[in-house]
Subunit: 330 residues, 2 copies
């Protein structure tokens, strides 16, 4: 089978993302944890896969979400938002018993975050394959995979099944290899990472993830890692570098870089997912790498300036305005 050049065009069908949907409740003071009475603001629609797909749709890509929420206002807040932003939610299941997932988030004085999660013990964890999901997958053109889901057995099986179906019909797969380092203690996981990376067309790593995904030593440098990824069959490697912008490396040998936008960061949660959602949408809409990198940098940066994980996902018009108005880092 010849690999399709990544990513497959819009005409093949929507970009799909599978995974957790939740609301975030954000502490408005910095401090340690959640033991004491404190102010919050929320609920904010959230979940990395949901943020990705929302940004993808707002950018103008056709997009469909697969996940599960509870029969409560927090679930409706999510489905209302995704629907309003143009995401196909026919694959979002409503669990009759379990509540919508929640994440309480508080920034600590050192910039790290404390969480109280109800994620895989919420509706998000009850997701199973349904005829509605089958229908979405059977007409999809691209699957975006969140690497964090590698260890969620029931979700991972669905992702694996969706990836096979979509590849069989000529679609493509992108992977955010955001696998947490603690996962790597499990030897079975290494094989799963390798298999998933080998099945992807487009990889969107940041930091150490490039080396985790390629299985190379950081000491051997970025070029070694990227070369290894091309050997594995990846067509396109996009590296997110935060304040240092981003770069794209194609298997054809070409490389591109784009500077970051200069912003005042309010809430970085979701910035990486917005970067990915915009990049995949742009490429599938037929834009060249340079244009896609610029929109992706803008989408991530704009989202970080607005409180709430998905609140700053921008439409094409909003991102055009952001790009025109915002200086770049040198």
């Amino acid at each position: 089978m010849t690999k399709v050049k990544s990513p497959a065009p819009e005409t093949l069908g929507p970009t799909v993302c599978i995974g957790e949907i939740l609301v975030e409740i954000v502490a408005t003071t910095t401090g340690e944890g959640f033991l004491d009475e404190q102010p919050f603001i929320g609920p904010y629609p959230s979940g990395a896969p949901a943020i990705f797909i929302d940004q993808c749709a707002r950018m103008g890509g056709t997009a469909a979400m697969i996940g599960a929420v509870g029969q409560d206002d927090f679930g409706r807040a999510n489905t209302d938002r995704l629907r309003a932003d143009g995401v196909d939610i026919s694959g979002v299941m409503v669990d009759p018993e379990l509540p919508t997932g929640t994440a309480f988030v508080r920034y600590r004085p050192d910039g790290d975050r404390n969480f109280v999660f109800n994620m895989w013990t919420s509706a998000a964890g009850s997701l199973t394959w349904t005829p509605e999901i089958e229908a979405v997958i059977s007409r999809a053109g691209h699957l975006h995979i969140m690497g964090t889901l590698l260890v969620q057995e029931n979700i991972w099986k669905m992702i694996d099944r969706a990836a096979r179906t979509i590849r069989e019909r000529g679609g493509t797969v992108s992977l955010d290899p955001n696998m947490r380092s603690e996962l790597r203690a499990d030897p079975g996981i290494d094989a799963r990472i390798a298999e998933t990376v080998a099945g992807a067309d487009l990889l969107l790593p940041s930091g150490e993830e490039l080396y985790v995904a390629s299985g190379t030593d950081p000491k051997d440098g970025e070029d070694t890692a990227i070369t290894r990824l091309f050997e594995l069959g990846i067509s396109e490697v996009v590296i997110k570098r935060g304040a240092n912008g981003s770069s794209c490396h194609l298997a054809s040998g070409e490389s591109f870089t784009a500077p970051a936008f200069k912003i005042e960061e309010t809430d970085p949660t979701g910035a990486g997912d917005c970067f990915g959602g915009a990049y995949v949408a742009c490429r599938r809409l037929g834009m060249d790498v340079n244009e896609a990198l610029t929109f992706a940098n803008a989408a991530g940066a704009r989202n970080a300036t607005i409180r709430g994980p998905m609140e700053g996902a921008g439409t094409r018009e909003q991102l055009d305005a952001f790009i025109a108005a915002t200086p770049r880092n040198p």
Copy 2:
């Protein structure tokens, strides 16, 4: 078996309450539900059984809680509070997987409340009988039962078992018959209500609950209902009447009334549970009915003046001061 006069004295062992422990996150604006971004304050330790037992301990009664929390800050907020207030928490289990229960609460403009709950799908629902719980029950002197738990099969079995053990050793049982009316559609529940009422020594109803518990028609009046309860073996019926105070009716034929305190209500959540916790503690400490009613009215009223379901539970000194400073309704 001759029924012990309700409630058994402190010397027999602590007052125990079994049931849900959770945190409440309170919307600080009134409105409809939780679809939109809005401010909250919390977490507040909560759960009707936990509020009851906390007030019982703060009043000076010996008190023990049986329930389950998650391994998270919300669980610790609850156990820290109960411990600090003098509650024995050796029967509070920590679930390794499920999160601590949460309740989002928002007052609507009409005074009703909207909720998003994660209650029986949280750690609260995973409670099972353990050696630690056995140890607490085997030295307890009194059990307070929340009628809402009638339909939680796993919890109800534990309550039933605890009631038998405590009665066998000469202890007593009080019942807050706060069974929601929708439960009564299930015919099996009627039998369970009747059995539970018949096994109680002290009943603490409000509003319609008097008639649900006695199985009499509201049209036949309060006296008929109370007489029926005495026939069933109840020794003491305490009726909570909100702004109209409270009354106590003893099987011996005596009746007592106490006026309500005149307050500006901030958050009525938990007021009824504080009333009950204070009343049971006072009676078990040997106070007469009049004094117990006054402390119970004060505990409920004081709690309603302070935001948060358990925040206004008063110590004996705080309630003495409240009683001295607060006018009564006519």
